[in-house]
């Protein structure tokens, strides 16, 4: 029996077993050849997303298109994306599918007001439409949009940018040379944006490759797509160089890297003279093109997929150390500092060597490390580094209590603490989700939905405590004796009403999901006043808002506890940068 026949038999067996053997299906989707045929995909894809084929949503109603804020954009995008339909399809046939595509997108958006359409979403939806048909596509896309794609569907692209920031540390694992090159070339990571948010549907011309990748992604962690970006990038040196060149990397750097790679690949060939040539004159697109003309047209997808799979297992997102996410990874971006309420009560350096480089708004290139920082640099420093913003928050907290006293920590005075600070998603990008026993909580970098997926809470959620800080912000989650940090991210519009916290997803892909939408509290009394939760079960959402009292317990086994009392500030150890040094 050929391996394909064997695989098909295994898949069929897994489908027939009761309950369905998901692990085998996942394995099949990832391993060589993926799910092999569209017929198999129609059966297996829904299982991978836990969609019940016997309980599909109805066909979209006729009025689905009326008064939807995204209707125009969806219409514009779908009507002009002919490329995504099989070549040779009759125009009238395609037109029918295009109209279905519009309906599916609007139907999902309408039932999930928390989701926002983005250009490129249609590239994903069309893939499902073509494989599983309209009604199943609705069910699958809805599930997917609330899980794997959730971060891309926020009102803003902040979470998406945040996920793109994973690219560099992953790339460093794959190819340090390329990683360093990219940092120097300051190309940023935006070139991978369309790969990520369309799951490559937008950039691959061969539909078979798209399908193969979808097998893989549907069976994998939501962040897999970004791992694949790193592998794809490296796996095809020439392609990546081409992209770099087109992304505006200084061409002499591109060439130098090309040469280094070429040298390694083919040691016999002498390329040194070319390097000299390169050094002697600025290189241009033409010579880069010459080198790049060797780009193979067809990438070895099976290899790339298995490489990605191994890479993910070897370096799961939680193991990418924070220091990897230095800001130099996004140097081209003009980073806007969002005002994020920061609410640490304790300081614990998770990354004492934090170092950052960034252009400030007055166009100065700042490069600071914790050790170097002088008192006068502090406010700038806080805006720039990953960890010490915790300290600022501390000061902030302190100052909000003693209004008349200038906040001070060690010898350094914090210059401005008007807003509790300054952290754009790029900054507080990485975090260590493990929380140790003696640290009640560490001020959290925001976790995106995809990252929370990775938390893998053990078992059912039966007891959940929300920890609110003195400023009334949800900062931690106490679950079965363990603390979990939560996303703290202000959503300006939503926040006005409820001084609270942005939605947080806790739990794995399977229901129940619980989103904490808001949590209002009195700053002074350190008590939480109300909390609202949106629960998603079986794809349906229910919103609850309730005062925080014993009634909460009855509702969903949640208790909202007072935060632990803050320790006196003096007992916190300030980092070296904040202690006065004699020199």
């Amino acid at each position: 029996m050929s391996w394909k026949k064997q695989k098909l038999a295994d898949i069929q067996k897994a489908l027939n077993s009761d309950p369905v053997d998901i692990e085998t299906l996942r394995h099949a989707a990832v391993s060589e050849g993926g799910l092999l045929t569209d017929e198999v995909r129609r059966k297996v894809w829904p299982k991978l997303l836990n969609v019940n084929a016997f309980d599909l949503p109805a066909k979209p109603a006729k009025n689905i298109r009326e008064n939807h804020k995204d209707y125009n954009q969806v219409l514009l995008d779908v009507r002009r994306s002919m490329r995504r339909f099989p070549r040779g399809m009759r125009a009238d046939e395609r037109a029918v599918l295009q109209e279905q595509l519009i309906d599916i997108i609007l139907d999902v958006l309408r039932r999930n007001p928390q989701l926002h359409y983005y250009q490129g979403y249609h590239d994903i939806v069309v893939t499902f439409l073509l494989v599983v048909g309209e009604r199943m596509a609705i069910a699958m896309v809805e599930k997917l949009s609330n899980h794997h794609l959730r971060d891309f569907m926020d009102p803003t692209m902040d979470s998406t940018k945040h996920i793109l920031n994973y690219l560099m540390p992953i790339l460093e694992r794959v190819d340090p040379e390329l990683h360093d090159f990219m940092l120097r070339a300051e190309v940023g990571t935006i070139f991978a944006l369309s790969w990520l948010i369309t799951w490559y549907g937008h950039v691959l011309s061969d539909f078979r490759h798209v399908l193969r990748l979808y097998d893989f992604f549907l069976a994998s962690h939501p962040l897999t797509a970004i791992y694949f970006a790193a592998v794809r990038f490296e796996g095809n040196g020439w392609l990546c160089l081409f992209l770099l060149a087109s992304a505006g990397a200084p061409s002499h750097l591109v060439i130098r890297l090309c040469l280094a790679k070429e040298q390694r690949r083919n040691r016999k060939r002498i390329v040194l003279h070319r390097e000299r040539e390169v050094k002697s004159s600025e290189c241009d697109m033409a010579s880069v093109h010459h080198l790049l003309s060797q780009i193979p047209q067809d990438l070895p997808y099976e290899q790339l997929i298995s490489h990605t799979h191994r890479l993910f297992n070897r370096y799961p997102p939680t193991q990418l150390p924070a220091r990897q996410l230095r800001l130099a990874a996004v140097p081209q971006q003009w980073i806007t500092l969002d005002i994020v309420p920061v609410t640490a009560a304790y300081y614990k350096p998770t990354c004492p060597q934090a170092k950052a480089e960034l252009r400030t708004s007055n166009d100065k290139l700042l490069s600071v490390s914790q050790q170097q920082t002088q008192a006068q640099e502090i406010s700038a420093f806080y805006t720039l580094t990953l960890v010490p913003f915790v300290l600022l928050a501390e000061a902030c907290l302190h100052s909000s209590r003693d209004q008349d006293k200038k906040p001070s920590l060690g010898a350094a005075s914090v210059v401005k603490v008007t807003h509790s600070q300054l952290v754009s998603s790029a900054f507080y990008t990485h975090c260590d989700i493990k929380v140790t026993g003696e640290t009640p909580f560490i001020c959290t970098p925001a976790l995106s939905a995809a990252e929370l997926w990775h938390l893998q809470l053990p078992g059912e959620i039966d007891r959940l405590s929300i920890i609110a800080s003195a400023k009334g912000l949800l900062t931690g989650l106490f679950f079965e004796g363990q603390h979990y940090k939560l996303s703290i991210k202000e959503k300006k519009s939503a926040m006005k009403a409820s001084q609270g916290v942005r939605a947080v997803t806790v739990s794995r892909a399977e229901p129940p999901l619980i989103y904490f939408l808001g949590c209002t509290a009195h700053g002074d009394s350190e008590s939480v006043e109300t909390a609202s939760a949106l629960r998603t079960e079986d794809g349906r959402t229910r919103s609850q808002s309730f005062p925080v009292s014993s009634s909460v317990l009855e509702h969903s086994h949640m208790t909202i506890e007072k935060p632990p009392p803050l320790p006196p500030l003096s007992s916190c150890v300030p980092p070296p940068c904040l202690t006065k040094t004699s020199h």
Partner: protein
């Protein structure tokens, strides 16, 4: 090795969704037009060089941006490093014309204290029957913003070349006058390493001499 360009200008295309930014660029850089035009997801890149005067080749680095509002936070990071911008609207889409002012304001404010050289482009001029914006109105807006105005059609290849050339020429002239110059940490304008500089050192000295006497 031949010098392929003396200067490089980075130029960005701005405007509402579906006004035809990508089509304009494809026509200009590849000389092709296709009715099939996928929306741009994020930011795309194109390049082409122009002979601006005999012996002076300018390489244009062209950045195409997604029109959808939510991508704005990403595209804004490309404003600062651009020396020129095409403000594109669709002649058959009144709203896209009305939004030009917003685009102009947003970019100008974003890059302060620096400036960008703009050109206003009324696109899809081949669709004469569906035209919703009069040439007069567009010219008036251009005058208000202090920029040039060109009507183009990627489909019929009308004025596409001219639009980019006018913009490049304006930038080039400003550069010659010293209003724009390459500066560290800014990628809007770059000069080729072995390029002939506008005023070579000797010429500069001679000019100084002539001023002194």
């Amino acid at each position: 090795m031949d010098i392929l360009w003396q200067y490089q200008f980075r130029i960005i295309l701005l405007g509402d969704s579906t006004v035809g930014k990508s089509s304009l660029l494809k026509r200009f850089t590849d000389g092709v037009y296709s009715d099939v035009a996928d929306p741009t997801v994020g930011v795309d890149f194109y390049a082409r060089s122009l002979d601006i005067e005999p012996g002076v080749k300018i390489k244009l680095q062209l950045w195409d941006t997604a029109g959808q509002e939510r991508f704005r936070s990403i595209t804004t990071s490309y404003y600062r490093n651009s020396v020129g911008g095409l403000l594109v609207f669709d002649l058959t889409n009144r709203k896209s014309f009305e939004h030009v002012r917003e685009w102009h304001r947003e970019v100008s404010e974003h890059i302060l204290p620096h400036h960008m050289v703009y050109i206003l482009v009324g696109h899809k001029s081949d669709l004469t029957r569906e035209r919703k914006v009069l040439r007069d109105e567009a010219e008036q807006l251009a005058a208000e913003l202090g920029v040039r105005y060109v009507e183009t059609s990627a489909k019929c290849n009308s004025n596409v070349e001219r639009a980019f050339e006018l913009l490049a020429r304006d930038i080039y002239e400003l550069m010659k006058m010293g209003e724009i110059s390459a500066r560290d940490g800014w990628d809007g304008v770059k000069s080729g390493l072995t390029a002939k500089v506008l005023y070579p050192a000797e010429e500069e000295r001679e000019r100084e001499k002539s001023c002194n006497c």
